[in-house]
Amino acid sequence: MINKQTSNLSRRRFFQTAVGAGAALVAAPTLIPGRALGKDGAAAPSNRIALAGIGIRHRGGYVLDCMMKQPDMQFVAISDVRKDSRENVKRKTEAKYGPGVDTYRDFREMLPREDIDAVLIATGDRWHTMASINAAKAGKDIYCEKPCSMTIAESLALADTMRRYGRIYQAGTQRRSIDNFIFAKNLCRDGKLGKLTAVHANTLHPATSHDWLPEQPEPPRDVVDWDLWLGPTPWRPFNQRYVDGGWRGHYDFHGGGILEWGAHTVDLCNWAGTDDKETPVLYEPTPSGCNTTYKNGMKLIMRKSGWLGLGTCSVRYEGSDGWVETGDSGRLEFSSGKLRAEQRKCAEVGTSAISHVRNFFDSIKTRKPTHSNAEVVARSHVICHAAYIAWQLGRPLKFDPDKVEFIGDDEANRMRSRALRDPWRV
């Protein structure tokens, strides 16, 4: 946790800061493992991974589809504050695995099950850190959709908890497992672009709204549990629009357009530019993004427009010997024929999460950190949050990556964390 009283968070603390128990750790009755790991109730093969879901609708449904294609996974339970969502997932997964997928409104009742190895978390952003930390404290491995945190403090708490419990964590930043992005990163890391001067990340407009939607009557708790839907975020009156996906763009629920895509693209840039080892030290807001600078002078530019049309979530890496740009089309553009000739295979086209999901399941078995493990995504999320804070304040900010604090700007430092609504804690 960020210590606001001393406003001093050391680098070592970044990696070792401790966080407290999650609400799920209140001793709950351990449920008898229901259908355990097989359709017939018999123990499944030892290498079968029993997966449960937390908050699965559109995006989560897609990732679940990718997971269901893996032969060593079996889906056993779903938790969702929405009745329709949990029933949809139950129907879908039972069609493949047979009867026995259990449903829960509250994930705290599901997590104590010892037969569950891992969870897929695809709730709204506000829940990502909290659900991940609760799952880790219950001994589960985690695949969590991006963005992974709402604040700088949550980013640190996430990495700390995964480390403390030795859990495997994969953020849903699947571009780290897709060929064209890997190829472009390798050009940087192998020195083919010379000395890197700038990395560019495609981000959306940063703005969010502090307003509330009109109050509507709360539905029955079994249909939508509004209190649980809000979770650790501040209270506000119910409106169905939030629940149906309209939470995006609202400050309490959404980190804005830099984080929305930066969770992918800034993460890719930091990977390509620094091998996940550095954090920019200067943040200069622009009308629709932020220009940042690393200690060695390299720029990380977050911008919305001016891309070469290579698809959504584009990135561009520039060095003394050339540049490369790529995006979700899978196509790559280069500054020279020499760099173009480096391509030796046709990049995968698209944004499939299949390879990323496979990497997660492999890591569960080998205990090797995943491509998008908590340490690397915590760093890239800190960068996104810091950029958004600079954008909100509308002034340049200096940042101390070791202390994870802004230099000489009390207001900025106060924006690094928010109180969690009771009874939630990390």
């Binding site: 606001k4 609202h250 001016g306 070469l308 046709c346």
Partner: protein
């Protein structure tokens, strides 16, 4: 891909639209622009709404001083506003907020108390230790567990001792106590202080037996496996193997997967310290493990910085278990030296999944000497071996092998020819492109070879340094190509793109050959950048055939919607897009294309584009789309031109659109002061 695009579009729209409908609960911007003194007055005013107080708190979190504390504390009993008040209290610097939170614990109960205790933990208030200890015994388990959590966050030797004593007793919050113990130990470890307390904190959670002396009583049955595993892992992480190799062996041989996983994690993380040779120790356990675990341990050992000896890996590469052999291949790849590469070459020349893994591994180990060894083996290779070696030529980029590859394109065995095509794709330059085109067009080739030639061309054209020369080579074959291959050549030209490719395609949009014209207009509509725009517009306006007019217009609108202006010219983008919209609407004869064109406007919100959308309200086929487009644009420009928004929204409301659009227009009208 389509799913993802829809999802990304939905996100973008949601972000754009969110503020448009967020109206009923006041204007947050207005409140949050007030100075701190006025924000405090909002909190004190009994007539202030919950919304107003919430927003005042959120702003005070950033700009508030100790003057705001009394007003914030007064909100703590309010279940809705408690979290807002705490956000401010947690961020206002100085001892006053800490004291206020401690004081609040005396009167609060239930969830507001839980929140305050959590804030105390967030602030690591060591003066609150006694208060927190008292709450550990609270009947409200949320209060008790949050107090334990807060103690763990404070992270002092004193809290460490308290938590260890608590950890000794089974309770309904045992897991929370354990977590706090772990957290406390982690925090102590930051400064490397109090190693005994740290060690005991871990030990109390994972020891198997009672100690012979000491006041703390260990009982392993209190804690579930994953907590014991976390404690054990923490112990290893902070204290190395703590001098007891037996502890490491015990985890590796545990019958329980949870503890075996701890063993694997330790195997990856433990560094060689003080003469301890952990890699040797781990290697010594391989023989004693069943195949599945042996493979997993070997994978872990392979990732260690102190690599296992080559002979160890070679031995494992001959294991009867495929999983172990694959792990050995991985270990060889991780060694990444010439000796390992030589072993991998031999394995790669075999058959099956392990051979494929070895071939993939070899690609990752660079070295001219390794290249030479691979090339050398070709001379005496048989068909299968040749195919493997050709793959390696290509994947490793061994250009010195190009003469061999050219020759292999005409090998008597088809698998060799197919591998040669794949290798050629990765090695040739533009001068050799005809080798692949010729094989793709040849009528005497099998379906497999034609397909392989196409795949090779897919790769080759993307990596050609000279785009225009590549386009010229491809275009030269179009006229003589059979219909299906001709269409494919057009696709390749689109992939190559660039000036020459565009010129060749444009020339064929006027072809008398219907097939060529069809292919040319098709790929133009899918062109990768805005360069195709002018010619598409020309076709849309002037082509004698209506189907091509429509196709071209749709392609033109697609480019306008997705137009990417290079970033150094970004100020031109709105003007260019607006011009394209006007041209598209002028040419469009059907509602379908006009509806598509309206989407251009939402990408460039301005008073001008708002007026363009409103102008379409009179067309019944466009009314709904025009109204929703106007609403979306209005939300973006309301700050700049509320008068124009008010006027536009009145027209939208008068048009009586269906669904939520009318409500949104009404809300925007009110915001615009209309």
């Amino acid at each position: 891909m389509r799913t993802t695009r829809r999802f990304l579009t939905a996100i973008s729209l949601a972000i754009i639209l969110a503020p448009a409908v967020a109206l009923a609960q006041g204007n947050a911007k207005e409140i949050m622009a007030k100075p701190a003194a006025e924000l405090i007055e909002i909190l004190k005013n009994p007539n202030s709404t919950t919304f107003e107080k919430a927003k005042a708190c959120q702003r005070l979190a950033i700009v508030g001083t100790k003057d705001a504390i009394p007003a914030l504390v007064a909100l703590l009993p309010d279940e809705k506003l408690n979290v807002y008040a705490r956000t401010a209290l947690e961020n206002i610097p100085g001892p006053e907020s800490l004291a206020a939170l401690r004081e609040a614990t005396k009167t609060l109960r239930g969830r507001p108390l839980v929140g305050v205790i959590d804030s105390i933990g967030q602030l690591r208030d060591a003066e609150a230790i006694e208060i927190l200890v008292a709450f550990i015994k609270d009947k409200d388990l949320n209060v008790a567990s949050t107090a334990a959590n807060a103690l763990g966050k404070i992270g002092t030797p004193a809290t460490g001792m308290i938590l260890m004593r608590l950890a000794d007793q089974k309770s309904q919050i045992s897991n929370c106590i354990a977590d706090a113990c772990l957290a406390n130990a982690g925090r102590l470890a930051i400064n490397g202080d109090e190693p005994l307390i740290i060690a005991l904190s871990f030990a109390i959670l994972c020891e198997k037996e009672k100690p012979k002396s000491g006041e703390i009583i260990f009982d392993k049955t209190i804690y579930p496996k994953h907590i014991r595993a976390a404690a054990l892992h923490g112990m290893f992480r902070l204290f190395g193997g703590f001098g007891l190799p037996g502890h490491i062996r015990e985890q590796i041989h545990s019958s329980d997967k949870v503890f075996f996983n701890v063993g694997l994690t330790i195997a990856r993380e433990l560094r060689e310290l003080k003469g301890d040779k952990y890699t040797e120790l781990l290697v010594g356990e391989l023989d004693k493990l069943p195949a599945e675990r042996r493979a997993l341990l070997l994978l872990a050992i392979a990732d260690r910085k102190d690599r296992p000896a080559l002979d160890v890996i070679v031995k494992e590469s001959k294991n009867e278990s495929e999983a172990v052999r694959k792990a050995a291949v991985y270990a060889l790849t991780q060694r990444a030296d010439a000796d390992a590469a030589n072993v991998l070459i031999d394995i790669a020349l075999g058959e099956g999944a392990v051979a494929v893994a070895a071939k993939d591994g070899l690609i990752k180990i660079p070295g001219k000497g390794i290249d030479a060894t691979i090339v050398e083996k070709y001379a005496s290779a048989d068909g299968h071996t040749k195919a493997v070696l050709l793959d390696l030529f290509g994947d490793r980029g061994i250009t010195t092998a190009l003469p061999t590859v050219r020759k292999a394109l005409d090998d008597s065995e088809q698998p060799v020819r197919l591998a040669a095509l794949n290798a050629a794709a990765k090695l040739i330059d533009v001068a050799d492109l005809d080798l692949l085109i010729g094989r793709m067009l040849a009528s005497d080739k099998s379906k497999e070879e034609t397909t392989a030639a196409r795949s090779a061309l897919d790769i080759a054209v993307l990596r050609m340094g000279d785009r225009d020369a590549t386009a010229a080579r491809l275009a030269a074959h179009i006229d003589a190509a059979p219909a299906e291959q001709q269409s494919y050549l057009f696709d390749l030209l689109r992939k190559v793109s660039g000036k020459k490719a565009l010129k060749e395609v444009v020339a064929r949009t006027k072809s008398k050959d219907p097939a060529q014209k069809n292919s040319a207009t098709r790929v133009l509509g899918e062109w990768v950048n805005a360069d195709a725009g002018p010619v598409l517009l020309d076709i849309a306006k002037n082509d004698p055939e209506k189907k091509y007019q429509i196709r071209a217009l749709r392609g033109y609108i697609r480019i306008a919607r997705q137009l990417q202006i290079p970033w150094w010219k970004k100020s031109d983008a709105p003007a260019v897009k607006l011009k394209m919209y006007d041209e598209a609407m002028a040419v469009a004869q059907r509602a379908n294309e006009k509806l598509l064109a309206l989407d251009i406007l939402t990408r460039i919100p301005s008073t001008e584009t708002l007026n363009r959308a409103v102008a379409c309200l009179d067309d019944s086929a466009l009314k709904e789309k025009a109204a929703s487009t106007a609403v979306r644009i209005a939300d973006k420009v309301i700050g700049r031109n509320p008068k124009a928004v008010a006027e536009a929204m009145r027209k939208v409301i008068d048009a009586k659109p269906e669904g939520k659009t009318a409500d949104q227009a009404q809300q925007l009208l009110e915001r615009a002061g209309g």
